[in-house]
């Protein structure tokens, strides 16, 4: 089977302690896998944090990273939710060059994308948008002609749809090892 990279998304529940982020990230670093985005935040349970990690890696690499994240003492659970049906969102703040003449056009775009203007100055505006990566990228594309002064994006946060939960209570249980992974040195 092919070993080409594709975007994998991991949901990791960890103990809220110093150094845990470092331990998780280090498993990507030592294999020279680039992390596209990583978000961490508190959960509904005190003392437990949740990470969403996005990385473009091969199937074999994803399996290896997932299995090694699980071995970390401070990790409560880890799931590769790439194949699952999920809601994925990130947020972007985009500061664009705008003035009297272009402002109306800008407002129209913001309305169409269901974004918001959160700061308006004589020469600039900050637009806030929440959505999937595609939507944010699309907005960026149409804003580019205005002149983007500055942009900041959060990483993705991901949740599986429906009743199922990624929370440790359920995913604590052993999962079958995926049989599809083929050995390779070259990952």
């Amino acid at each position: 089977m092919s070993e080409g990279p594709r975007t994998h998304t991991f949901v990791v529940y960890v103990e809220d302690k110093p150094g845990v982020l470092n331990r998780v990230a280090s498993l990507f670093r030592r294999r020279a896998y680039n992390i596209e985005s990583l978000t961490v935040g508190h959960t509904e349970r005190p003392g437990v944090s949740r990470m969403t990690i996005v990385s473009a890696i091969s199937e074999g690499a994803a399996h290896r990273v997932e299995a090694n994240i699980y071995k970390l003492v401070n990790v409560l659970s880890v799931q590769d939710v790439t194949a699952a049906s999920t809601v994925a969102r990130s947020l972007a703040l985009i500061k664009v060059d705008t003035h009297e003449e272009s402002r109306r056009r800008l407002m129209e775009i913001v309305r169409v994308f269901r974004a918001r203007v959160v700061d308006l100055a004589p020469q600039s505006a900050i637009i806030e948008i929440t959505g999937g990566e595609d939507k944010i990228n699309a907005l960026l594309e149409v804003l580019r002609p205005f002149g983007i002064i500055e942009m900041v994006r959060t990483g993705q946060v991901v949740m599986t749809r429906g009743q199922r939960t990624d929370s440790p209570e359920e995913s604590d249980r052993p999962k079958p090892i995926r049989q599809t992974v083929v050995a390779s040195h070259s990952v």
């Binding site: 103990e15 110093p18 150094g19 470092n22 331990r23 280090s26 030592r30 074999g60 399996h63 290896r64 299995a67 090694n68 699980y70 071995k71 970390l72 003492v73 401070n74 990790v75 409560l76 659970s77 440790p168 604590d172 249980r173 052993p174 090892i177 995926r178 049989q179 992974v181 083929v182 050995a183 390779s184 040195h185």
Partner: protein, 581 residues
């Protein structure tokens, strides 16, 4: 693991962090600690005066970690090493990485500068938890006395459980000096997660049994996990009941008796031809507690292509890492085998066994052991003589290189934990300190260091530790005047350009004598046995400097990354030609 002594368990009083370190170690039945004092760990060394634990003063902190490692490998118990902050801690890195690669349970305790000084580039400050993060199973930075006992208790549990490995505790000086109530009961480890019981279900077990019972040409691949799990009896039962030959990894040697008719010997790069042939011809590989290291598989695309694979392994991350497992069984090896065994059909498989062993003859003809004495001293003869003299019953601790492979080929290990060697990391300088640890773990056993002239010089300062501790450790230096394994690679793969491999050494016998260790130098084959006998019957440490053939190579050899069948064999005429001279 032991629950600890009753006195340490029940008492509940206010102690300093430093005292709590020793009380905790006592409660965990630690009898000795290998270490080296310094500023940031001084409060703890001061408290040692009030503990019954024996402290072994090493000559370099790397030595302390290898000693803890040797102790752990010889006994199966957690080994403990201690050092100060900064250079003391960073000197431990190689030993920690060695233990990590070979799944050896050690706990390292380092002093750290005071918590208010952390991050200020204070004198002898190093970020040792950051440095050792990828080479420990887990590590702790402790800045409160209250956290010491629970962390030590948890560290021992983590080091020894599942797939064992090293754990480091970095304890700030102020945490050692502060006081708190020592309550061992309350320090019991709290579960981080509801630990899932990884155990194969009935469907998976039956899938494995179907493969085992139907196989025509099965081979067991016996790894270190057998020793760590204590599954020797079950592995033997499986092999004997189903007539399955057993090939061993380097770290698996001893887990299946060398003299057993089903024992093929070591597999891989320096495995005998018939062992690798059996693996390549097999229709089923039953991998037991091993991880398909590249030294074992050679070229992956041609590795055991005819074989289905059953992989029984406690570490889920090893499944499908290198070789695809048709049936992976995740769990403790002994428990999984206990469940499997009743379903294994008794079979003789005499045809397959005959086929496998038929090709032994060719290797025997090429074996240097079977060639006439040509006046030269070969390392193989030394190792073989050591095996005969000790009746295969010694604990042999090797360094890394040619002598290590010759040891694996010519010393026949009947029992687990009688070969202690750095396999995964291949750490030169391992042998001497690891042997010291092994001797502390098994004071009744005969312990031999087998080291090359290169590796021995990396940690030979520990000779003083042997003398100071009055340890009866015997040392055999296989001295060929070269960094032999690198020279061999230069001969085979770099057109014989011996760059930086010829090696000047001191007169090891004189050096040993300077330490007060009696020593012999052996240059001829006829002197080997008498020298071994003299050293063995001396009631204390002894060293023998064996001046062996300089440009001998380890055969057979599968070049790195090559097909297992593409091995370089010992050119038989070589020795015969030499005998004509």
């Amino acid at each position: 693991m032991s629950n600890g002594r009753p006195d340490a368990k029940t008492e509940r009083k206010t102690l300093t962090g430093a005292e709590i370190i020793w009380k905790s170690l006592e409660a965990l039945d630690v009898d000795c600690v290998f270490g080296y004092p310094g500023g940031a760990i001084l409060p703890t060394y001061d408290a040692l005066t009030r503990s019954k634990i024996h402290h072994v003063l090493v000559r370099h902190e790397q030595g302390a970690t290898h000693m803890a490692d040797g102790y752990a490998r010889a006994s199966g118990r957690v080994g403990v090493a201690m050092a100060t902050s900064g250079p003391g801690a960073t000197n431990m890195v190689t030993g920690i990485a060695t233990a990590m690669m070979d799944s050896s349970p050690i706990v390292c305790i380092t002093g750290q500068v005071g918590s208010t000084l952390i991050g200020t580039d204070a004198f002898q400050e190093s970020d040792i938890t950051g440095i050792t993060l990828p080479i420990t199973k887990h590590n702790y930075l402790i800045s409160r006395a209250e956290d010491i006992a629970p962390s030590i208790r948890e560290a021992f549990q983590i080091a020894a459980s599942d797939r064992p490995g090293p754990v480091l505790l970095d304890i700030t000086k102020d945490a050692q000096q502060a006081s708190c109530v020592f309550d061992w009961e309350a320090a019991a480890p709290k579960p981080h997660r509801r630990e899932p019981v990884f155990f194969p279900d009935q469907v998976e077990l039956e899938a494995a049994l179907a493969l085992i019972n139907q196989a025509q040409r099965p081979v067991i691949l016996a790894g270190h996990g057998i020793i760590l799990s204590g599954a020797e009896r079950e592995v033997r039962a499986l092999a004997e009941r189903a007539g399955i030959p057993v090939a061993l990894t380097l770290l698996g040697l001893g887990s299946f008796p060398a003299s057993h008719p089903l024992n093929l010997g070591m597999m891989g790069m320096h495995g005998e031809a018939w062992v690798n042939q059996a693996i390549q011809e097999a229709d089923l590989l039953i991998a037991l507690g091993m991880r398909f290291d590249d030294r074992v598989t050679g070229k992956l695309s041609t590795y055991a292509t005819k074989a289905k694979k059953i992989h029984i392994e406690i570490d889920r991350a090893e499944i499908n890492k290198i070789v695809h497992a048709d049936v992976p069984l995740i769990g403790d090896l002994r428990e999984v085998l206990e469940r499997l065994l009743p379903g294994v059909r008794p079979l003789a498989r005499s045809e397959w066994i005959a086929q496998v062993t038929a090709s032994k003859h060719d290797s025997a003809v090429r074996d240097i052991q079977n060639l006439p004495d040509n006046g030269h001293l070969y390392a193989a003869h030394v190792i073989n003589a050591l095996w005969r003299e000790t009746k295969g019953d010694a604990i042999v601790v090797t360094d890394v290189g040619q002598h290590q492979m010759w040891e694996a080929q010519y010393y026949h290990h009947e029992r687990s934990r009688t070969l202690i060697t750095s396999g995964g990391l291949g750490t030169m300088g391992f042998a001497l300190p690891a042997a010291i640890g092994a001797k502390f773990a098994c004071p009744e056993s005969e312990v031999w260091v087998v080291a090359g002239d290169g590796g021995f010089q990396m940690t030979m300062a520990e000779l003083a530790t042997i003398v100071q501790e009055k340890l009866n450790v015997k040392i055999a230096i296989i001295n060929n005047g070269f960094l032999g394994m690198v020279r061999q690679w230069q001969e085979f793969f770099y057109d014989g350009r011996y760059e930086s491999t010829p090696l000047l050494s001191p007169d090891f016998a004189k050096l040993a004598e300077a330490y007060g260790i009696p020593a012999l130098t052996v240059t001829q084959r006829a002197q080997v046995n008498p020298a071994l006998q003299t050293s063995r019957f001396h009631a204390g440490p002894a060293l023998i400097d064996f001046r062996v053939e300089q440009e001998d190579s380890v055969f057979p050899m599968v070049p790195a990354g090559a097909d297992l069948a593409a091995m370089i064999r010992r050119p038989t005429p070589l020795v015969e030609r030499a005998s004509d001279e």
